[in-house]
């Protein structure tokens, strides 16, 4: 009798709780994004309003630049949060957008992921607020990458023109001349591996989707095209096939090794000269300087080998910009901050000198100071000249998918597997394309 009374009382309690929960979840429904009534005027005026904005960026040192901004505009408080690098940040960003709250006002996005958020309407179109007038302040490569279609969705912060980092000591020891074309590169690879089977001219990453995209772009491939909700996927086009056949041959002949990058073993291999070159973006030097300082002085930088000796081209790997989210309730202030961060002298100087990231500011990229900077790690070479030239030669026209993150995540299942198994990359691309087409259909895109 005693417990029967408490039993029914307990049931009532549970009922009340669940009803309360239902009411609560119903009440706290997500509000839609703030209407974007941004104009150049409103952005300029925003600098003198009182506001607090949250910035998500993984670039170390951004807090110091934000402090400089707050000194100049004391009414605005900028809260810099490192919500993770790359995919970690995007996962949080996507869930906050889906939940309707928690997304930052300003977010750092890689150029390859920008279309994903731009087409979903999650970041603000800044073409309308005077961005196009700023076009000349940015390098051509950076400006092109901040666009999706004809509109601009991010202020470019850094860029990743590709270069070839090579070991001068290994090249000297085996009498290899620095290759300027891909044909020369293939010959050099075979020569090196024949002379010393424990060494390879370079390694290739089975998970290196962005590296592949950069090199495919350099070869003139345009496998992806996006136009609203229409998507074209053609991984068998001329440029992509050229890239695929070239690397299939090199990997099959054992002149190039398939190895997972960013691992302990791979860093050690770079350090001890097992891999004589590394083809990557312009962000690699600071990484090498801090991780493998022991091989300082043994490296040099050269342009990426070209397909045509008379018309050298280059590609991009990485680089990011900062965008304003549509969920933000302070879009004008956020746009003002993003603009200041990428165009003001204070900020751009700090980005290049203190944060050591590759400049997107035309003023800095053409300055003698930056171009003539000598790198001790690279034996005193003026490495920025190589990057600058590479940036100017980037073959334009490469586009990313609106679901590039997904495409990159399954890259290693198809194309990466072909690297590791030394099978034909073109065949793997056919299957990769099929998987991407299927995903596009499931997500509601029309595949042409």
């Amino acid at each position: 009798m005693h417990h029967r009374k408490s039993h029914s009382r307990a049931l009532v309690g549970v009922a009340i709780l669940s009803a309360a929960a239902a009411v609560l979840t119903g009440c706290a429904s997500s509000t839609g994004p703030a209407a974007s009534d941004l104009t150049v005027d409103s952005v300029d005026k925003a600098l003198s309003t009182k506001a607090t904005i949250t910035v998500w960026s993984w670039q170390p040192g951004i807090e110091d630049i934000a402090d400089a901004f707050m000194d100049e505009y004391p009414d605005i408080t900028v809260d810099v949060v490192n919500a993770g690098q790359g995919n970690d940040e995007y996962a949080k960003l996507s869930s906050s957008i889906k939940a309707g709250s928690g997304a930052p006002d300003v977010v750092q996005l890689e150029y390859s992921i920008l279309p994903q958020y731009a087409t979903a309407g999650d970041v603000v179109n800044v073409s309308a607020i005077g961005y196009d007038d700023l076009a000349d302040t940015f390098t051509a490569s950076a400006y092109a990458q901040s666009k999706v279609g004809d509109d601009v969705f991010a202020y470019p912060m850094d860029d990743g023109p590709m270069a070839m980092y090579y070991r001068t000591d290994i090249f000297d020891e085996y009498g290899i001349a620095v290759p300027t074309t891909w044909d020369e590169f293939a010959t050099a690879a075979e020569t090196l591996h024949a002379a010393d089977p424990s060494k390879y001219l370079t390694a290739i990453d089975p998970a290196g989707a962005m590296n592949a995209e950069g090199l495919i772009g350099q070869a003139g491939g345009v496998p992806y095209q996006t136009d609203g909700s229409d998507v074209t996927i053609d991984l068998a086009d001329e440029g992509t096939t050229r890239w695929a056949d070239y690397w299939s041959g090199l990997i099959a002949s054992d002149a190039v090794k398939s190895d997972s990058f960013w691992t302990d073993g791979w860093w050690q291999a770079l350090d001890n000269g097992t891999y004589a070159t590394w083809i990557a973006g312009a962000w690699a030097p600071s990484s090498m300087e801090s991780t493998i300082p022991n091989s300082s002085g043994k490296w040099a930088v050269a342009p990426v080998p070209s397909w045509d000796a008379d018309a050298p081209t280059s590609g991009v790997q990485g680089g990011s910009g900062i965008a304003v989210t549509t969920q933000s309730e302070n879009q004008a202030v956020s746009a003002a901050f993003a603009r200041w961060m990428t165009t003001s002298d204070t900020a751009t100087d700090a980005l290049t000198t203190d944060l050591k990231i590759y400049p997107t500011s035309q003023r800095i990229a053409t300055s003698d100071e930056w171009l003539g900077a000598q790198s001790e790690y690279f034996g005193g070479q003026e490495i920025n000249r190589v990057f600058s030239e590479s940036g100017q030669n980037v073959k334009e026209g490469f586009q990313y998918l609106p679901f590039q993150q997904y495409a990159d995540s399954i890259f290693s299942d198809y194309v990466g597997a072909a690297f590791a198994d030394k099978t034909d990359i073109s065949e793997a691309l056919v299957k990769y394309q099929a998987a991407l087409v299927k995903f596009a259909g499931e997500q509601g895109y029309t595949v042409k």
């Binding site: 993984w58 790359g86 939940a99 590296n211 990058f261 960013w262 990011s320």
Partner: protein, 294 residues
Amino acid sequence: MTQLATGRRRSMPAHRLSVPTILVMTALLLYCVLPFWWLIVSSTKSNGDLFSTFGLWFGRAFSLFDNLGQLFTHQNGIYLEWLGNTVLYAVVGGVGATILATLGGYGLASFTFPGSRKILGIVIVAMAVPATALAIPMFLLFSSLGIVNTRWIIVLLSLASPLGLYLMQVFAAQAVPRELLEAARLDGASETRIFVTIVSKLLAPGFVTVLLFNVVAIWNNYFLPLIMLSDPRLYPLTVGLNQWNSQASGSSGATEALYNLVVTGSLVGILPLIVVFVVLQRYWVAGLAAGSSR
């Protein structure tokens, strides 16, 4: 009790360890100790040495103090915030979870009511649902309640310990005799008085065992804070160190090589747990044996 007394008086027969046993135990010992040894050795190396010297022996320079200095000052001393967060979540969450598990286990073991047998079954079966499947729904649910990205959501969610509940139920069933409860009720004690004065002391060894278990589980919990938190100042050590680790790699660009900090930070991060284990060891061992002596 009498069994133990007799055992002490009789002399124990000499045991001879066989060679295979010694070999297996040595292999197991190495398996457990080698990673820890690597961690200690690697904490004394700088970034350069980490990638160019043998993993199980010291490098060219002894950089332990440099690493420690860098560890506590990098990024405005965020490591100490992470350490503090981890301690907060583990202590508050762990103690809270153990108290709830004790109350629940005692209730399920010593009282019979409709559903008393089914509840435990349902809780155990629910544990089989993978956390990854629940991640986004949980995030959306708590986001609509407005409590994501706070310290309280981590503590709140850590309070649910199904395994702790099960362990306490089993322990309470053995350690709390019904006759004792009946006698206490006959004497006129209220249920609360019975629990606080009699039962809690009987359950003490089990409580410490489950406490240790929960503290370790929350200390090492990675997935829950990863999905619920986006402000690095609220991260526990697991998520924080992983973020530092991924700063050193990235398909589009590495920003900072913090490997030496990740390794040193990991070493410092497990020291509190080792201390807790050593201090509470006798309760834990007693807890294991307590059930068997009845």
